[in-house]
């Protein structure tokens, strides 16, 4: 059996999951610097706590949950740095990608998070319900509302142009 040192184990997790944590943090905080701080905090907690994971999925769910918690704590505290418009800082390869990404960011935080977990991370409704501890029906109805709002943002945006 391969003997993995603690540091090797942590390094592997960071390399594998830093992007995932960063992407979700960015969706929630809309701020690059804050999201980078959250990446550090999430893995710092992991290192301190060294939780026992039952499986890869368990590990992933743990990291997502802690990312959500950390970004909440961040948003609630004065750690939060002044909000800069992300549009100037992130460029996408195609206008379609840019349009949809920034449209999602215009949604309320709870909607953005659900859209991210559902469409990007590919979680099912019952899984989101467990990770976030909210009722399945709430997830469903919020997703519907999120999609509707998203639609109106995208359509409204095009009229402006």
């Amino acid at each position: 059996m391969e003997f993995k040192t603690r540091n090797k184990y942590l390094e592997e997790i960071v390399n594998e999951y830093a992007d995932m944590v960063y992407r979700l943090a960015l969706t929630r905080t809309k701020h690059i610097q804050n999201s980078e701080d959250i990446v550090q905090e999430v893995f710092y907690r992991l290192a301190k706590k060294m939780p026992k994971f039952e499986s890869e999925e368990h590990k992933k769910a743990w990291l997502i949950r802690v990312t959500i918690n950390c970004s909440n704590t961040f948003l609630a505290s004065k750690h939060l740095k002044n909000n800069v418009e992300l549009n100037d800082e992130i460029k996408f390869e195609t206008p379609e990608r840019s349009e949809i990404y920034f449209a999602v960011l215009k949604l309320a935080k709870k909607y953005r998070t659900l859209i991210h977990l559902y469409y990007y991370e590919g979680y099912k409704i019952n899984e989101i319900s467990k990770i976030c501890n909210i009722k399945e029906n709430t997830v469903k109805s919020q997703l519907i509302r999120a999609r509707e709002k998203l639609k109106s943002i995208i359509e409204g945006g095009m009229e402006d142009e």
Partner: protein, 667 residues
Amino acid sequence: MNKDNYKEAINEIKASSKVKNETINRITTVKRKTRQKLVYTLSTVMIAAVIIISIAIPLKYRNTTEENQPTKIVADKGGLPRVENFENLCNILETKDTGYNYGKISEDLEDSVSIQESSKSSDTIEINTTSSDFSKTNVQVEGVDEADIVKTDGEYIYYVSEDKIVIVNAKDVSNLKIESELNYEDFNVYELYLDNNKLIVIGTRYDDTDYYYNNFTVAKQYNIQDKTNPILEREIEIKGYYNSSRMINGNVYLISNQYIDFFFDDEDINEDDVKPKYKDTIISEEQKCLGFDEIYYIPDSEERMYLNIASFDINNKEDANIQSFLGGGEEIYCSENNLYIANAKYEYKDYRIFGYYNNYDVNTYIYKFKLDGTNVEYVAIGNVPGYVINQFAMDENDGYFRIATTDYNGNKTDNNLYVLDENMNIVGKIENLAKDERIYSVRFMQNRAYMVTFVETDPLFVIDLTDPTNPIVLGELKIPGFSTYLHPYDDTHIIGFGEETTTNKYGRVTTNGIKMAMFDVTDPSNPKEMFKTTIGTAGTYSELLNNHKALLFSKEKNLMAFPITISEDASNYKYNLRFQGAMIYNIDLVNGFILKGMISHKETEEGYMDYDYSKNVERIIYIGNNAFTLSKGLIKVTDIETMDTIGSLEIETPEYTNRLKLVEVME
């Protein structure tokens, strides 16, 4: 909206390698905090004691021995220490090494035949003992009520439809009418209790616009003397998400889990943010905090979570009793006298090796509380190997607590049953039952336990518990399929609900429709399957598979009913829906299961149907000889004898309800 563009956009976003490297550098140098000063002040005698303890305690605790113990332990009269202050809270939490518990998430994803989607709200069961002629919620323990989405008093029906409650006058079935509705904003209704003229509505309230962080478990008590005008009498809330509740003789016990979330490094933390919060409108309209000196902690069981318990008497105006314990709770079992809260923890066998999934032990910690009116008093903590599947894996009889668990051992599983005494010490056990299988359902009936484990066939074990110190396996029956819920028919017969299974040509076990079976355990050494019925093929689903409250059963009325969606000829991962509604059976020991009728809230269609969320029957109840089927958008009355539809009532549902199916099929 194009989902692919969204995914591609996010894929372009990456954490910079600078951030990754900084993170790695930071965390690989993290030493779990030790407060050196404290260690130095320990006397030599104390150091000797620490060494002895570190040898005597199991290996799994060794990795914490370097860390400081909580600075101050103040024993309560019951022997339970309190947190006392914020610094102490930090100390306790930093020595903890269990994370949030996500065990169930992975279980669902991994297991292709899994039907265990135990939801937080699905909690208990019981046998109907109807004195009057109407049905009650199917609960685990007689006399201990469990909340559900529908309740009736034989004249009115109280039903949760989306985020509102309808009070329906059911006296004249040909003229059902809504007497009143309770509508809410920013409040998610979960379930109800009904007791004479009191209606207790349980749900969750979200603070701010974000529900991950600030959620509160709420009980709203209404006086419903006048059905057209329910009056809100009292509101009680505790911070945290809703775990479960029970009601015994008008005393409600409300249980929540509250995450404790703050940065350890944060210098300017507001201590109130990490305290348990509560509100009781009898005391004040203001939200209050419990002080750290009022929070108990149970050594060995702390987690980054509070278990909050509110208890109150619906028939008087005494202050609610609010208590908080550092530590999480998952499954709840409640007898008339004691409340047991079980929490599974995953602990490394060898703390030097990380990242191996088989390098941990699963242990379930059970806190026992004595119930005396609204007084909830901690008694003891017990600890058994393995995890429990649901509340039915626990039971109390004659002062003994019994619990059935599945334990991991390397990559293998085995199954155990333990008997614990009043002080939660193990006095009897059977271990290593059904190796490589896991428990799918358990039912305790007085001095016997019935346990179903599963890999390819469904062994039903009959276990004798007459001598608590010496449980004995009396008999075993192996049949295809598995049961996820066992319901007593009488003292010597049990009904099992579950799924039928077949082994395909590749040797994989696949599910193949819903299975019901009647087991005869008159001769416990030779259990028999008397009758068996299967419904539909793969994809057929009933809420009863993971929520006992979905069952309507009355032996006296020779009646059994449950909600169902039937699929047929499933192929290419598409389930062809044949029927959506409820099935009504007659059941007896001579003829077995006789299908009495099927009730749907949808128009009959040729061929396959579309799933309709607002017309999905959730519960079946009866009043007299009438069966009421309830879906979000409709209540329908059927004569149980003739199966004729004799009444119906539409319930207005929000527009999005009808479109929920769109989300589910959006790929």
